[in-house]
């Protein structure tokens, strides 16, 4: 049973599905109640098999059936779709009109690649702790917006395994949103736009009018994120190119010529100094004058352009969009897509997320410890019983609410292992289950 590398051998994946993947939790989370309902039975699962074969429209009667099929196919990952009006596996036998997506979690996807034009540390598929700050800011804004403005409570944030984060909203109203309403929500939350050749990508107000509701609430938060992230860490406006970037974002009619002169004369100025120059310029112009107001508004718009969440709106707009299931393994990195606590998002470091290999090794070690403990441990190997043995009383309460076989990765950590303890998502799981009663 020794799987030493983090490599994603089919054997390691199979062991992960057989011994670790929390099928029961996924079932309860999707199903909203203990007995299988249409929310699970009519739910689409799509598998990506080894060699990129893609199987759509699978559906299952219960968690065990899902587990059995996953262990048989041993996919590299699988995705969750909507609840249809009929069972997806019967798709070919029902009339197309009788096969429609009805309900689905409202989902959001934030991906680091959309930040390529504003991050200087990495690009494309790479991610480091410095770029994670962008994601952390996005999570704070989005989490607050969804809870406070839209009034949804059952939010589950999941690390996507490489360079992004997913949000699943399971409130009943959110489940039932039409595509039109989803599109509205996605566009409401999209502030930065315009494509490659657009320079000023934030156009949400006219002139120097106040920011519209929904955005204005967050400007203070983002103005706090902006200096350390953009001015210091990323140093986005350094050099001549940076100065040009910044000048292009300032309104032409706000008397920015002195700034241009200053910066061409002294191209070595840091981003922070340039930002201060703009601020001084506002003072010179006077905050109450038309051009002073314009410049202030432009500064806010710049903060938004660099830090506002860049969601992949297409994912959110359609009920039948598939999204990778939580706890799947990212095929390239081997990291598990673990739930993330939005209130502690700043502490999250993608580099410390456990990989399959690491987890399996820890399970092996735990088994050895159990064996040394005595005969009792030996009967409880491996799998579900292992988890129940390690369950603490506090967690048992939450498990009771959710039905038998409740599971958490936290439980299976030997006490000396710290790799997962940072997430402690067990405590939070009950909040993800909306009550239907």
């Amino acid at each position: 049973m020794a799987i030493l590398d983090d490599g994603l051998s089919p054997e390691a994946m199979l062991a992960f599905y057989q011994r670790l993947y929390p099928f029961k939790s996924i079932f309860h989370w999707l199903n909203h109640e203990p007995a299988p309902s249409r929310l699970f039975v009519n739910r689409e699962f799509a598998f990506t098999l080894q060699g990129d074969v893609y199987l759509r429209y699978n559906s299952f009667a219960n968690a065990d059936e899902l587990k059995k099929q996953v262990c048989t196919l041993n996919p590299t990952r699988f995705e969750i779709g909507p609840m249809y009006s009929a069972r997806p596996r019967d798709k070919k036998t029902v009339r197309p009109a009788a096969f429609k997506p009805l309900q689905r979690e409202l989902v959001f996807d934030i991906d680091m690649t959309d930040y390529d034009s504003v991050r200087r540390c990495c690009s494309e598929a790479n991610i480091c702790s410095r770029c994670w700050v962008f994601i952390a800011a996005a999570v704070k804004v989005l989490d607050c917006s969804i809870r406070d403005q839209f009034g949804y409570k059952h939010l589950l944030w999941v690390y996507s395994g490489r360079r992004g984060i997913h949000l699943w909203v399971s409130d009943q109203e959110a489940m039932e949103l039409t595509d039109e309403e989803r599109r509205a929500i996605a566009n409401y939350l999209t502030v930065v736009g315009g494509g490659k050749e657009t320079k000023k990508k934030v156009n949400v107000r006219q002139g120097s009018k106040p920011l519209p509701p929904g955005i204005g609430e967050f400007i203070n938060l983002l103005q706090g994120v902006f200096p350390p992230l953009i001015l210091q860490d990323q140093d986005s406006f350094a050099g001549e190119a940076g100065a040009e970037e910044l000048l292009a974002l300032l309104p032409a009619n706000a008397q920015t010529e002195p700034l241009r002169k200053k910066w061409t004369a002294n191209p070595d100025k840091s981003s922070e100094e340039k930002w201060d120059d703009i601020r001084n310029q506002v003072k010179i112009l006077g905050k109450a004058t038309a051009s002073g107001k314009l410049l202030l508004a432009a500064m806010e718009d710049i903060v938004l352009q660099y830090t506002w969440p860049r969601i992949d709106a297409e994912v959110s707009k359609h009920r039948n969009h598939l999204l990778k299931a939580p706890f799947c393994v990212h095929p390239k990195t081997g990291r598990v897509c673990v739930p993330v606590d939005p209130t502690r998002i700043d502490e999250f470091d993608p580099a410390t997320v456990p990989t399959v290999g690491q987890l399996l090794k820890e399970v092996d070690e735990a088994m050895v410890i159990n064996n040394e403990d005595g005969a009792e441990g030996a009967q409880h190997l491996p799998g579900k019983s292992l988890f129940s043995q390690h369950r603490s009383p506090r967690k048992a309460v939450s498990s009771h609410e959710l039905g038998e076989g409740m599971f958490s990765l936290h439980d299976l950590q030997p006490s000396e292992s710290r790799s997962m303890s940072a997430y402690a998502f067990t405590d939070r799981l009950p909040a993800f289950f909306p009550s239907r009663r």
Partner: protein, 481 residues
């Protein structure tokens, strides 16, 4: 629904049961939410006539959209049309037979429901056109009567309370229409997704707060949703109507008339005649005939050896309608994506290309995007390059692009920038066509302006063909023709 009553329609409230409820004062309001079916006898002639008259109005609305008429003009035309075919006068108009007018409006609507409830596509179009008609009528209804009508509907949105008002005051003041509003409304946000999308409401805990001036949006959304639901219910009940041999053929006729009347997608017929392009001709074609949006994507493709999804779709459909057959399209994309393996290409791209030609999935023959769609569906992400460059490009990037690709001189540049600033994107594009084709200003594409990227390319090719013909004095067959 039409066989429910034995009463004649001019019963003066003397009848019994259900009918009497409607017959005393049948239609107190000019506007109608069509939430109650008409009761009473309808002759088969009226049944058909009322429907056809209403269909004329709806057909005109659809064709106005297809021709991209501005809202003001659309409104004018709709008013003209319905005063001619389905007039509705306000309560103060004494001369007209109000009851009869409103009965016609009512019955016509319900007959068309029967005709258009059968497929999703028909339902969608019917709802869209009916809602537009309702909007126009709502807009020019007498303010007092409209208030009465709204009161009678007893909608379930409410006025904002004092406490809510004080806590949200600051945010409400930033809304566009709240300047002189004292009354604010409160409704679940899902009732007005369009206002949420445009950030014209304040959201708090899933409730949307808005100035009373936005009430019309609530009414229109309610109208649309009620009608959608009703159509689906009608669709389910429709099979029971099949018994009547007189009505079914009539309904079939009506729905077909609607379908054939308003198919303005450019290019579905032109595609078959153009044909004969090959993959290696595209480079030259792009230089000579493509509008900036497509030219830009083509250059990006050459530069990056790749294009993002929406570009592949937009540019791919453009090439399809231009006359690039599927075999050549596959060669074109395969060669263009030179950095990826055959295996990756076959797995990730081939299906979508075939899909856009109607060879996979639901096998629909997708039309190329019109200018309207290109303008609306602009890219959001950094690497995306679809959409209308006149909209998306920063001014200096646009100027550089026009100068290098279309030889637009500085004397014309000012004019084009001005047009772009005034958001007359298609006029700017038409001007570029004129300049680059040496046609005098205002001549356009044979008098038309650019409304479709394929129109731009087709007219450009036609012109070239005509010129070659003119120069050599004989019938020369162009390489791509």
């Amino acid at each position: 629904m039409f066989k429910s009553s034995s009463n004649t329609r001019d019963d003066g409230g003397s009848s019994t049961g259900e009918v009497s409820r409607y017959s005393t004062l049948k239609y107190p309001h000019r506007l109608n939410f069509y939430d109650k079916p008409p009761l009473g006898d309808v002759t088969i002639e009226e049944f058909e006539l009322f429907a056809i008259d209403r269909l004329r109005v709806l057909g005109e609305i659809e064709s106005s959209w297809a021709r991209n008429r501005p809202p003001e003009e659309l409104k004018k035309i709709v008013v003209e049309q319905y005063t001619k075919y389905v007039p509705l006068d306000s309560n103060t108009a004494k001369s007209a037979d109000l009851g009869e007018q409103r009965r016609k409006d009512h019955i016509g609507h319900f007959v068309l429901r029967l005709a258009f409830c059968r497929s999703e596509e028909l339902r969608r179009r019917f709802v869209k056109a009916e809602t537009a008609l309702f909007r126009v009528r709502y807009g020019n209804d007498d303010a007092l009567e409209r208030r009465e009508f709204l009161k009678s509907m007893m909608f379930d949105w409410s006025e904002m309370t004092e406490e809510e008002g004080t806590s949200l005051r600051d945010k409400l003041n930033t809304l566009e229409k709240s300047a002189d509003s004292n009354v604010f409304l409160k409704a679940r946000w899902t009732r007005i997704p369009d206002l949420v999308e445009k950030r014209r409401v304040v959201l708090k805990g899933g409730w949307a707060y808005m100035p009373v001036a936005e009430e019309s949006a609530l009414v229109f959304n309610e109208f649309q949703k009620t009608l959608e639901r009703a159509l689906e219910a009608t669709a389910k009940a429709l099979p029971r109507l099949d018994e009547d041999a007189r009505i079914v053929p009539l309904l079939n006729n009506l729905s077909q008339g609607f379908l054939s009347g308003a198919n303005f997608d450019w290019g579905s017929s032109a595609a078959s005649t153009a044909g004969g392009l090959t993959a290696d001709m595209i480079d030259e074609m792009a230089r000579k005939h493509f509008p900036l949006c497509m030219r830009y994507q083509h250059e990006e493709l050459r530069k990056r050896k790749h294009l993002p999804h929406f570009s592949r779709l937009e540019y791919g459909l453009f090439l399809k309608v231009l006359g690039l057959p599927i075999e050549e399209a596959l060669i074109f994309w395969r060669k263009s994506f030179s950095k990826i393996t055959d295996d990756k290409f076959n797995k990730e791209y081939k299906y979508n290309i075939r899909h856009s030609f109607g060879l996979e999935g639901k096998r629909a023959n997708y039309p190329a995007k019109t200018c309207m769609q290109v303008i609306m569906e602009r890219g959001q992400k950094d690497m995306e390059c679809h959409g209308c460059p006149f909209v998306t490009f920063a001014p200096e990037n646009l100027q550089t692009a026009l100068m290098s690709m279309y030889n637009v001189g500085s004397q014309d540049m000012g004019e084009i920038s001005h047009l772009v600033k005034g958001q007359h994107y298609h006029v700017a594009c038409t001007r570029v066509w004129e300049i680059s084709h040496g046609v005098k200003k205002g001549a356009g594409l044979d008098g038309e302006s650019v409304t479709h990227p394929n129109l731009y390319a087709a007219k450009s090719r036609e012109l070239e063909k005509a010129r070659v013909k003119g120069e050599s004095g004989e019938d020369v067959v162009m390489a791509e023709g």
